[in-house]
């Protein structure tokens, strides 16, 4: 393994630790900021995989826009009650915790068993790193794929976003009328 692989696994470890912090955070802002940290580490992992465009989009959309809104609203609302209501030692929480840990251990053990089988069961796709470079770089290949082969799905997804915006406006309007 070279140094980049170590960096990749290091980032993955940081992301896992931050997700645990996010789940157990007592204040909403700690949770939101750990989520931001997860977004940043995942962007770093994309960058290490040479997917710079996805990494940058991850930063722009999640770190630059979504999380700003989260933290902005948390700051404005200044949630104090939620901090007091949460108890680490309640039976329902402990039950959920045990179930989650069990599920996680099972998943990891299955992953360990079948990790190597990926290499010979799944056929190699046409976009190898060298092919992507020959076609004019990551961004260009992605743009061509999005706006030719997957054009319909791309537009339908944007329609789904539009539906979300309109429903948010309708809900907000009903409250004020």
């Amino acid at each position: 393994m070279d140094s980049l692989t170590y960096a990749f696994f290091g980032l993955g470890l940081v992301a896992v630790i931050l997700s645990v912090i996010m789940l157990f955070a007592r204040t909403p802002i700690t949770g939101a900021l750990s989520l931001l940290g997860i977004m940043l580490t995942i962007a770093g992992m994309y960058g290490l995989m040479q997917e710079h465009f996805i990494a940058a989009i991850q930063l722009v959309v999640y770190a630059g826009a979504v999380m700003v809104l989260f933290i902005f609203s948390i700051m404005l609302l200044n949630l104090k009650k939620e901090v007091l209501d949460f108890k680490l030692m309640s039976p329902s929480f402990l039950g959920t915790l045990v179930a989650c840990v069990g599920l996680f251990v099972l998943l990891v053990s299955q992953l360990g068993l079948h990790f190597e089988s990926y290499n010979y069961l799944v056929p190699q796709g046409q976009f190898t790193p060298q092919a992507v470079v020959d076609l004019g770089g990551n961004t260009k290949v992605l743009a061509h794929a999005l706006f030719s082969q997957y054009y319909l799905s791309f537009e339908v997804i944007s329609l789904a976003l539009l539906v979300a915006i309109i429903s948010a406006v309708v809900l907000a309007k009903r409250k004020f009328d």
């Binding site: 710079h52 940058a56 930063l59 770190a63 826009a65 700051m75």
Partner: protein
């Protein structure tokens, strides 16, 4: 990664960081002397020649002060905020190309720390992170003035990011690439043989919108509402002292350097040679062996100097505007952002799309 790759990467990082960080004391000195000059005062002139060492004395003072954390703050986020403040603009500097390439020991070294395809989006991503120190610093300080400052700051930065993005988008339509190096090469031609074919000539309205938006993004006057000294004391960093305040201060100036580098790369030819520099390269070339490698290296040096001169000019404009225009009121700022710049940038984008679709092959 071979040893040569590692050393050249390290050298590039050292050059960029070195120039960005060491320019800050001079910039602070220039800001003070410049403001004094514009207002008919004397300015700092006691420490060193022309008061040049005043900033060094200030930094020494900040370093030797007691690093004090007030009791009522949220300690972790209070310490984290200045770190992010400095990290975001320094990270953004990583994709700015500062020369075409040099040839050392027969190997080609591209003068850009991160040679990535989507450089411009990367820059935008790091510019987007500059909101967090304002929000975090203000929130963690638990002070009414800091919260007011951070609310103002975040809403201002989020609103102006839209028109900034629109003007960047119009330039992307023109250049047809995210790669900052290719953008500079696109701008290297000349109209009628003497007017440089810069982005500002092609898209002047986009350049103007971008220029205004960048002032709001770096929190400089006339848009320094997050700090607004006369209204909310010092805004989001009132509760900070010693070097933690120093880092916010440093971050503001590094963000200015980054913004100047970005605007010169996108709209003013970047590292492309300034008019007249091409003959200078030939002139210096006559004193050497004249091999292609040497000429290329000399040209790279002059390209770096051209970029430095352009960045220096925009830094001067930043200081000039700060001491010329008064601060906007908050509603005026929002009106300008949402009712003038946003529609204007949108119309500009549509015009650019139509023109480039119908008149450019």
């Amino acid at each position: 990664m071979t040893l040569f790759d590692f050393i050249q990467l390290f050298a590039k990082i050292a050059v960029v960081l070195g120039f960005a960080l060491t320019s800050v004391p001079f910039l602070v000195w220039f800001e003070r002397r410049g403001s004094a000059w514009m207002q008919g005062r004397v300015g700092p002139n006691r420490v060193g020649p022309f008061g040049l060492l005043q900033s060094v004395a200030d930094v020494l003072k900040l370093f030797t002060k007691e690093s004090f954390i007030p009791g009522h703050v949220n300690k972790f986020f209070y310490v984290l905020a200045p770190v992010i403040a400095l990290a975001a603009p320094v990270g953004a500097l990583m994709v700015i190309p500062f020369g075409s390439h040099v040839i050392v020991f027969g190997q080609k070294i591209v003068l850009q720390i991160a040679e990535i395809d989507s450089g411009l989006i990367f820059l935008l991503a790091f510019a987007g992170l500059e909101v967090y120190p304002v929000i975090l610093g203000g929130w963690a300080s638990h002070n009414k003035y800091t919260v007011l400052g951070s609310l103002r700051g975040s809403s201002q930065m989020v609103s102006y990011e839209i028109s900034m993005g629109m003007s960047i988008l119009s330039m992307l339509i023109i250049y047809g690439t995210f790669n900052l190096q290719e953008m500079v090469f696109w701008q290297s031609e000349k109209i009628f043989g003497f007017i440089p074919y810069w982005g500002v000539v092609v898209n002047p309205i986009g350049a103007l919108i971008f220029f205004i938006a960048i002032f709001a993004e770096t929190n400089r006057l006339p848009f320094d509402l997050p700090e607004g000294d006369s209204e909310i004391v010092g805004g989001y960093h009132i509760e900070y002292g010693a070097m933690k305040f120093g880092m916010f201060f440093l971050a503001e100036y590094v963000a200015m350097v980054m913004a100047s580098a970005l605007i010169s790369t996108m709209f003013f030819g970047g590292f492309g040679l300034l008019p007249g520099f091409a003959s200078l390269v030939e002139f210096v070339g006559t004193f050497t062996s004249g091999s292609p490698e040497t000429v290329q290296n000399i040209q790279a040096v002059f390209e770096f100097v051209s970029l430095l001169l352009k960045v220096g000019f925009f830094l001067f404009v930043f200081v000039w505007v700060r001491w010329t225009l008064p601060r906007f009121r908050f509603d005026q700022l929002m009106d300008l952002g949402w009712k003038i710049l946003f529609p204007l940038s949108f119309v500009n984008l549509i015009v650019i799309i139509l023109v480039s679709h119908f008149f450019v092959k």
